[in-house]
Amino acid sequence: MSEGAASDSASAGLLPLTGRAAGEILFRRATGETVTRERFLLDVEATAERLPERGHALNLCSDRYRFLVAFAAVLVRGQVSLLSSDRTPHALEQLVAAYPEAYAIGDEADRLPLPGVEHAPLRLEERRRRPGAVPLVPARRIAAVVATSGSTGAPALHAKPWGALVACSEAAADRFGFSGPGTAASIVGTVPPQHMYGFETTVLLPLHAAVSSYAGSTFFPYDVVRALEAAPAPRVLVTTPLQIRTLLAAGQALPSLEAVISATAPLPVELAREAEAAWKTRVLEIFGATEVGSIASRRTVEGELWRAYRTVTLRPEGEEGAAVGVAHLPGEVLLADRVEVLDGGSFRLLGRRADLVKLAGKRASLAGLNAILCAIDGVEDGTFFAPDDLDTNAAARLSAFVVAPHRSEAEIAAALRARVEAPFLPRRVVKVPALPRNDVGKIVRAVLAELHRDAARRRRHPELS
């Protein structure tokens, strides 16, 4: 596209599906095959032609490249992708309930039992012809709706205009040096494409920045090491604190890494230092939230200050709060974390709010979890309990205390499993005669902590009970 045509489109509010040049590589597949811009455009054209004529598509693809093709085909057809990193039947049913005409798209292996939802198979076939022009998409078009666990138990839905997604990719490309001339970096990502961080950093970035992404499985350390070995340098690992810790513990040698990027949970500085030393690389962190996407970054070992992307504005709001403005997103968003906003687009995180728990890159509200618990048949009162080391101990999990004289712990645990994402399931359900509530009905945390310790002791020493 010529400069003139690009600026004409931009002034009309249109942004190209991809800004990559002809012949550039966007993806590397598990087979070793590389996907050029032309191959990608052909796959999108062929897929878009076959999509059902509906408004919304639930993208279930686990293969990162197939996810991208489905997303792009849905986008150019003027439909909206629905994304949920929570794959429990209850969450998907609730999401689909908000969009009753939605269909699901994915491989046969991605098919999930969703009654009444049509499954559109994704077929990629080699087509030997030249693709048409790069599609132009209105910046204001809603490209995706990303679901997260809401505070009431129902999913919270976050609409993402195409312009906001493109602006974020371009800001990240600037920040991490993925723009301008030079060798394209090879990204190996370990975060699901349906998660906002995985979506932005491992799926959308190759459309607008000089990177290629790896499409195959990257769950176990073995997979990550093989994927990195197969990737041409410079290599960038896009991952989470948990997987950094697991990969270090696995103790396998890695090929040279240009950088490691971490998000979804605070990365302890000791772990960042250990990873930088072991892999002779820089460990960078992204801060973001599903509502706003990625908004800032830092190199963990250099200090606790975050630097906002150039497309982001921050201002203090309320007690230890921050309102965030992001290019192409309507209005400001109040961050869920406690934040101290500093001058010059930097900020410091002061910790999570008491109601918020973060596990496995997901966020839940204790109030929301408590509402689910208390709605279980036979539960008279109940509360989840977050241990003090929840943010620092990767093995720490929630517990639940319930007043339910006629239900067993196992029955309550089973009822929760259908409604609560696995990371937030209580490791232990403890029945109590009454919850420790003070004069105004508020639960006394110190007493819960004592009950929690007692329950653990009794489990280890049954003779005490």
């Binding site: 598990a30 769950f219 176990f220 350390p221 997979d223 997987q243 697991t246 496995a360 232990r428």
Partner: protein
């Protein structure tokens, strides 16, 4: 609930130790699902299990193994996979 073989009890102990589960090895039903309805483990736990298995038994779990969902289906299938693949069959456990 079926009774567990020695290797199943051994792998059950490894799970309990790794995941800080509050139960005894013979309390894990060898045929119950580890994820979802059974023990309710999650993907974080799967990573921890993979790491513990590679340390104890000297072999790696990998995603491109098409048997994966079957391997993690139950304690019995996981123990069977360990018995078949462990690099140090005589290793002290």
């Amino acid at each position: 609930m079926g009774s567990s073989s020695p290797i199943e009890l051994e792998v059950a102990s490894l799970l309990i130790e790794t995941l800080h589960l509050e139960m005894a090895a013979d309390e894990i039903d060898p045929t119950a699902p580890l994820f979802g309805d059974g023990l309710g483990l999650d993907s974080i736990d799967a990573l921890e299990i993979a790491l513990a298995i590679s340390r104890r038994y000297g072999f790696e779990l990998k995603s491109d193994d098409e048997q994966n969902h079957r391997i993690f289906a139950s304690l019995r299938s996981l123990a069977g996979h360990v018995a078949k693949h462990r690099a140090r069959p005589d290793a002290k456990v």
